[in-house]
């Protein structure tokens, strides 16, 4: 059985962390370019154009696409005939510190109460690591997502009652639209809107972050009901007219991603997680023979 030891994981982590910070995922770029073509508001079109140019420049010049790295989460899906012999959090933190020293990542992690900044993005529990066991899978995936914190400030969590959910989930749709309006320009639109529904609120919250962090923004939800909800919400959000940076326009959201799990008969937890337009997502897939394939690679 092949091993994923610290050396292999660190090499992988360095590559995916750097790749995620110096550009945006190709699927997000595709949506941004489509939005730019369709946008009718002149100032909004100019902003979208600036965003596209900026992301391409970052990629070409090997620079951080945004000055703020946001906060990192690693999604690990452990499968394949592989033995993990490394601490995922420790190794990814090491990679993040290394790349902070090389000025790819601004030192942004601080103590939540004292606000002390150690200056190298070392910190308690950084990055967050979410592990999923996938014994039937033929590979192990590591996806890292740096998500900006303006977007984070706009997040909403609500535990609805069955009456508040309403017919065909209209209460959920209303909550989403109102949250997008309240968020305005704060989450750096055009955004991706992640919606987690069900479980208890912590479960819905985890799903909402994951929804905008591991899926390609151009994909279609395999669950037909959720796919329909995503397809209904995206044009609804865009008809609000919030626009890029919140200055008005046709492009408020690039995508809507909904994840659902069953809940208790008394409640309907809903978590709404905003992602700014800078989709800093990268990943690696390791197969049983030890070969590595990079995910969301730009070139």
């Amino acid at each position: 059985m092949k091993k994923i030891d610290e050396k292999i994981l660190l090499e992988t982590a360095l590559e995916v962390v750097k790749n995620s910070c110096t550009g945006i995922a190709p699927d997000a770029m595709e949506l941004l370019k489509r939005a730019h073509l369709k946008e009718k508001n002149k100032a909004a079109k100019k902003l979208l154009e600036t965003m596209i140019i900026n992301a391409e420049l970052a990629d070409n010049m090997n620079k951080p696409v945004c000055q703020s790295p946001g906060y990192p989460v690693v999604y690990a899906k452990l499968g394949g005939d592989l033995k993990l012999e490394a601490n995922i959090q420790k190794v990814f933190q090491k990679a993040i510190i290394e790349l902070t020293k090389k000025n790819y990542i601004r030192p942004s992690m601080v103590h939540p109460i004292t606000r002390r900044n150690p200056g190298d993005n070392s910190g308690v529990g950084v990055p967050d690591v979410e592990v999923e066991l996938a014994p039937d899978s033929e590979h192990t995936d590591f996806i890292i997502s740096f998500k900006g914190c303006g977007a984070e400030l706009a997040n909403v969590q609500r535990v609805l009652t069955p009456a508040q959910v309403g017919k065909e989930g209209i209460g959920i749709k209303k909550l989403v639209l109102e949250s997008v309006v309240k968020a305005g320009g704060i989450p750096c639109p055009p955004v991706a809107v992640g919606i987690g529904i069900g479980g208890q609120i912590h479960y819905a919250s985890r799903l909402s972050r994951k929804a905008v962090s591991v899926r390609e923004w151009t994909d279609t939800n395999p669950d037909q009901e959720l796919a329909m909800l995503e397809q209904e919400l995206l044009p609804a959000i865009n008809s609000l007219g919030i626009g890029p940076a919140g200055i008005g326009g046709d492009t408020t959201a690039l995508t809507v991603k909904v994840e659902m799990v069953s809940t208790h008969t008394a409640i309907c937890p809903v978590a709404i997680n905003f992602h700014c337009w800078t989709a800093r997502r990268s990943g690696a897939r390791i197969y049983s023979d030890g070969s590595v394939k990079h995910l969301f690679k730009r070139k």
């Binding site: 209303k174 007219g241 008005g248």
Partner: protein
């Protein structure tokens, strides 16, 4: 860009008063970065009657924390772009009224308190394209100095010289107008129709 739309800092009331929401401008001169912790410390200084580290009369404050590197003992900006301005909403009255700031530059927009201060003291809120850090760092000529680095790189006050920095969009003007307020009110009114609720 026409001369009308080129601003030079330090800014004067007449530079600000002629601006209207929707105008696209650029800025040349000195700017000061300031985020949450710098604002909190400025307020502490004001409360305690202590001298501030900079003279902010006519200043342009940029809500931003750069990525920097040191080259031969000199600081260099790797990239810089705006952070969420709304976090600094509680400080606008003092910033404009007491220390004389004229332009607040950031992203996401600000609220009623800032709108009142902009009108009362003739100030402007400029929107800098969010997430566009590489593009914007091209306008930075040099780092003049840094204050309060003990707050950490993002939260320190970086004093920068910029040239033709733009595009910056006038998003809140000194006449009581706010793009964000207009956009938000229209959007809120649309929700019942979108959901087909009578």
């Amino acid at each position: 860009m026409s001369k009308k739309n080129s601003l030079i800092s330090p800014l004067k009331n007449e530079d600000i008063a002629r601006l209207r929401i929707g105008d696209v401008v650029n800025l040349t001169g000195i700017i000061y970065t300031a985020r949450d912790m710098a604002h909190i410390r400025i307020m502490e200084h004001l409360r305690e009657g202590k001298q501030l580290v900079e003279n902010f009369r006519g200043a342009a404050i940029f809500h931003a924390g750069p990525v920097v590197r040191k080259k031969n003992e000199e600081w260099e900006i790797v990239v810089i772009g705006p952070t969420t301005s709304m976090r600094m909403e509680p400080f606008s009255e003092n910033l404009l009224g007491r220390i004389g700031v004229k332009a607040i530059i950031g992203k996401g927009g600000m609220g009623k308190k800032t709108q009142r201060a902009l009108t009362k003291y003739c100030g402007v809120y400029l929107l800098s394209p969010p997430g566009c850090a590489v593009v914007q760092s091209k306008s930075v000529q040099r780092v003049l100095r840094v204050n309060w680095l003990d707050l950490g790189v993002p939260e320190a006050i970086w004093v920068l010289e910029v040239k033709d920095w733009g595009p910056l969009i006038v998003a809140m003007d000194s006449h009581g107008n706010s793009i964000f307020k207009e956009v938000s009110e229209k959007a809120l009114a649309r929700i019942p129709k979108i959901l087909d609720i009578k």
